[in-house]
């Protein structure tokens, strides 16, 4: 492989990884507090993509209004998801909670299928995101540059909320010890709602960028990115926000580079992430940034 091609793939990998990173944060935050894989998290990508598209199509909103509105709407749906499907099961066995999450995920996908139809819709990319920059043989769509930058900004904002505000302190406390936090007089329902709001909004931002990157959207578009982002969260050490970001970037690079280096295996691309997951769980179940298990 030529050096140019390698750099090109490297850039592609970072761009894809930044999208995984944004989704992975939502998984890791919810897991940190509720100890739950929010299976429906990936479907929020789909919700955001459709919301943004319909904002532009039906209401003729410009993208800089439609996108934030879609992100807010998705955040609200994230809170609703918790209230409807997870809150009644706080005291239930974990297996019930997981089954509920799977049910919620299928419900969202199939509701979208019934309401919108299964035919993939073209996502109209605003013109300012369609340029391609050519530097010395490298073809770089501006989107590929924007998505890591947006991710970086959002992550910095999130880190500020989590580490510098009172609500963030309460979130960290809840992920350390749920019961003790409740005893300290902290309203956990509000903290959980905030967690879902933040996680879902980040997933929404990722979903919109995903839709611009692969501009064919359908009701099941969130499933595979969702699963892979979860793997990224495990890779980085579940419960750790910086780990999730790192895991996302690593997974994106890993996927792109393995296909670039071994083009014969391109068909198996979707299997690599899961093999990576098995490898991580076998050799370092706590992930890169995770703390050692306390049994």
């Amino acid at each position: 492989m030529s050096a140019t091609l390698f750099v090109q793939q490297l850039i592609n990998g970072i761009s894809l990884g930044s999208l995984y990173a944004l989704i992975a944060i939502g998984y890791t935050m919810v897991y940190g507090i509720l100890r739950l894989i929010n299976f429906a998290h990936g479907d929020l990508l789909m919700v955001a993509a459709y919301a943004a598209l319909y904002g532009m199509l039906l209401f003729s909103l410009p993208w800089f209004i439609s996108f934030p509105l879609a992100i807010i709407a998705t955040g609200a749906i994230g809170i609703l998801l918790d209230r409807a499907a997870y809150k009644p099961l706080r005291q239930a066995p974990r297996i019930s909670l997981l089954i509920s999450a799977i049910g919620a995920s299928f419900l969202m996908e199939n509701l979208a299928l019934v309401l919108i139809g299964g035919v993939p819709k073209a996502f109209h990319r605003p013109n300012c995101f369609s340029h391609v920059i050519i530097i010395g043989g490298l073809h770089i769509p501006v989107l590929t540059i924007y998505s890591p930058l947006v991710t970086l900004l959002l992550v910095l904002g999130l880190l500020y909320i989590v580490f510098k505000t009172r609500a963030g302190k309460a979130m960290r406390a809840a992920s350390r010890d749920f019961e003790a936090t409740r005893l300290m007089g902290i309203d956990l329902d509000r903290i959980i709602a905030l967690t879902f709001l933040l996680g879902s909004s980040l997933a929404a931002a990722s979903g919109i960028m995903w839709a611009m990157k692969y501009p064919q959207i359908n009701p099941f578009m969130g499933v595979l990115p969702g699963l892979k982002a979860f793997i990224a969260a495990v890779l980085g050490g579940i419960g750790n926000i910086v780990g999730a970001v790192l895991g996302g970037f690593l997974l994106g690079l890993f996927e792109i580079l393995i296909v670039a280096l071994l083009p014969d295996l391109a068909e198996y691309r979707d299997a690599f992430a899961f093999l990576l997951l098995i490898g991580v769980l076998l050799f370092r179940p706590t992930g890169i940034m995770g703390e050692p298990f306390i049994e």
Partner: protein, 369 residues
């Protein structure tokens, strides 16, 4: 597994007042089998093709649900990869039972690899091979899978199912890729499907009632305590995993020879989701619950076709809504898990003891002494 004597054998169920004796229960079981035999005989001779198809579906779902329940309900592990085992069984059975000439017709893009291009075995052998192949894969993945619990186990098994599907898509010279395998001989009839269903119910029920089953339930309730009592979780769970995969594989073979066309798209996570609905609605941990859930699902799936077809009510035509069935199924799963977590049966079994005690209870209620 020589150290299986540390658990007391389950005592014969205490005979509740008015309960059936062991001899009577044996007769009742025989009568039940005879009844099933009669019903199948009637349907195989006089039933319509549609009815036979539904009955076959029910039997295959029963096999799948009962073996899935062994892991999810009895062992308490949220296993999300049975679609992988079903796919392995279906492809194994299909490739072995098909004649080499037919295989050559199917494989257009690339030739089928040796030795699949020369062998053909009887259907029964192909089914056993399907089960064995699924069990072999279960053995291989049990090492990473059974090291983890809870959500991690769920996502690893889900990943396994996905990997199997992706490999089925990619491995052209074994599975014919996305084109799938067409024109299988419809070997599966009522005797095959219900015979396998009955066998799987009997084997798995006996396993659940044995020392091994007790150990599995102990692990489900409290793994640390079970370990302290000398139970080796890895070996017990592995046994459950293998037996579950074995029957899932056989059911996959039956499924392949029922619908006569298989492709990777058939074995997505949706299949697992459907099985999950069956065992949750029936009651996680109950074999008879799984049977009820499977029958309800097969029947309900057909009954709900109404919502996807246009309806004529007087002068009004209500258009059918394609895809509505899955919305209803997802809602049912959510509502059951939120409001009736135990499902129909909970962890109880619809046994003769249970039925007799209910009968005795209602009789007592009617005639107060």
């Amino acid at each position: 597994m020589g150290n299986s004597f540390y658990l007391p054998r389950p005592k014969a169920a205490a005979n509740p007042a008015g309960g059936p004796t062991a001899g009577l229960k044996r007769w009742l079981n025989a009568a039940l089998f005879f009844l099933l035999f009669g019903v199948l005989f009637l349907f195989s001779h006089y039933g319509s093709g549609y009815q036979v198809r539904i009955l076959n579906n029910i039997a295959i779902f029963i096999t799948l649900a009962v073996s899935y329940n062994l892991i999810n309900g009895v062992c308490g592990l949220l296993h999300l990869g049975p679609n992988g085992f079903i796919a392995i069984g279906a492809y194994t059975s299909a490739l072995l039972a098909m004649s080499p000439a037919e295989k050559n017709l199917n494989f257009i893009l690339s030739n089928v690899i040796w030795p699949l291009n020369v062998i053909q075995v009887p259907f029964a052998v192909s089914l056993i091979a399907a089960g064995a192949m699924a069990a072999l894969f279960a053995f291989l993945i049990s090492f990473p899978v059974l090291r983890v619990r809870g959500d991690y186990l769920a996502i690893v098994t889900l990943g396994f199912g996905e990997v199997v599907r992706v490999v089925c898509n990619g491995a052209q010279s074994v599975t014919n890729g996305p084109l799938g395998i067409k024109g299988l001989y419809p070997h599966t009839n009522l005797w095959w499907s219900w015979g396998v269903a009955a066998l799987s119910v009997v084997v798995i029920q006996r396993l659940i009632n044995s020392n091994y089953g007790l150990a599995m339930k102990a692990i489900r309730e409290d793994e640390t305590a079970a370990r302290a009592m000398g139970v080796d979780p890895f070996r017990r769970l592995m046994l459950g995993f293998l037996i579950s995969a074995f029957f899932s594989g056989i059911a996959g073979g039956l499924l392949a020879h029922l619908i006569t066309t298989i492709s990777p798209g058939l074995f997505t996570f949706l299949l697992t989701f459907n099985l999950l609905i069956m065992i949750v609605v029936g009651g996680l941990g109950s074999t008879t619950g799984a049977i009820l859930g499977a029958a309800l699902f097969a029947w309900g799936g057909e009954a709900l076709r109404v919502v996807e077809q246009p309806m004529q009510i007087g002068p009004l035509t209500i258009p059918g809504i394609p895809g509505m069935r899955m919305v209803i199924f997802s809602l049912v799963l959510l509502l059951v898990i939120l409001f009736a977590r135990k499902g129909i049966m909970g962890r109880r079994e619809l046994s003769w003891d249970f039925l007799f005690s209910k009968l005795a209870g209602s009789r007592r209620a009617k005639t107060p002494s």
